[in-house]
């Protein structure tokens, strides 16, 4: 479920080829108890992207079971290609 009420939402950011394929750069997902990064990836429609990288509040993480809460930011990213 998506909502625009910023006080109780998680901001999800998309980058690179993922943003291009989804045709959007950000969405809001309603926060709820026990919501994990894996849940966010699924709700954002990104479960089919491989490989993908995830950051929680601007820190890259590998634990997809990490719980996220209201006001958090989750970035769903393709592998980096800077340099």
């Amino acid at each position: 479920m998506q909502t625009r009420n910023d006080s109780a939402v998680i901001t999800v950011l998309f980058f690179g080829v993922i943003a291009e394929r989804l045709q959007q750069r950000t969405i809001k997902i309603a926060a709820r108890p026990g919501l994990t990064v894996a849940d966010v990836v699924c709700e954002a429609g990104c479960a089919g992207f491989h490989p993908l990288l995830v950051a929680h509040n601007q820190c890259q993480i590998s634990d997809m079971n990490r719980v996220v809460g209201a006001g958090d930011e989750v970035a769903i990213m393709p592998p980096f290609s800077g340099g």
Binding site: L13, F15, G16, V17, E20, L53, A55, Q58, C59, Q60, A75, M77, P78, P79, F80, S81, G82, G83
Partner: protein
């Protein structure tokens, strides 16, 4: 003096960055650098330009963490890292790493580690405009 770690649109001067690094300490006896530039080809296709996307905030944080970790890992004295995130054309500068140490071995090792690790840890992406359309760049080893 400009910050030693920067993500920016503007071009940079290698000479200015090396000078700034050397002014950090009179103990610096060796300076190494890596300069990444835009090529005019990629996987057999002509490339007319490259655009960059960054995760603003996290990209600079990741570069600062890289800078700090390099200083802790290697016997080096000073590091400067600059990455551009604008549109660049073949021959133009993209990324610069400058490392100063008492001796050359540590400077070379630190510089190599920084560029290799930057490619894995810093949320920046390249998109090439080629003769066959646009395409996102896959990570290079």
């Amino acid at each position: 003096m400009s910050a030693s770690v920067r993500v920016q649109d503007d071009d940079f001067s290698i000479e200015d960055e090396v000078l700034a690094l050397r002014q950090c300490s009179p103990r610096i006896g060796g300076v190494t650098s890596f300069l990444g530039c835009a090529r005019d080809f990629s996987e057999g296709r002509a490339v007319s330009s490259i655009t960059f996307e960054q995760y603003a905030g996290m990209a600079e944080q990741a570069l600062v963490a890289l800078h700090d970790e390099a200083l802790a890992r290697f016997d080096i004295i000073a590091v400067r890292i600059i990455h551009r995130v604008t549109e660049v054309h073949p021959g133009e500068q993209i990324v610069l790493i400058v490392v100063g140490a008492e001796h050359r071995a540590a400077a070379f090792d630190g510089c190599r580690w920084i560029i290799d690790t930057l490619k894995k840890r810093v949320p920046i992406w390249k998109k090439e405009q080629t003769s066959q359309g646009e395409s996102w760049v896959s990570p290079h080893p």
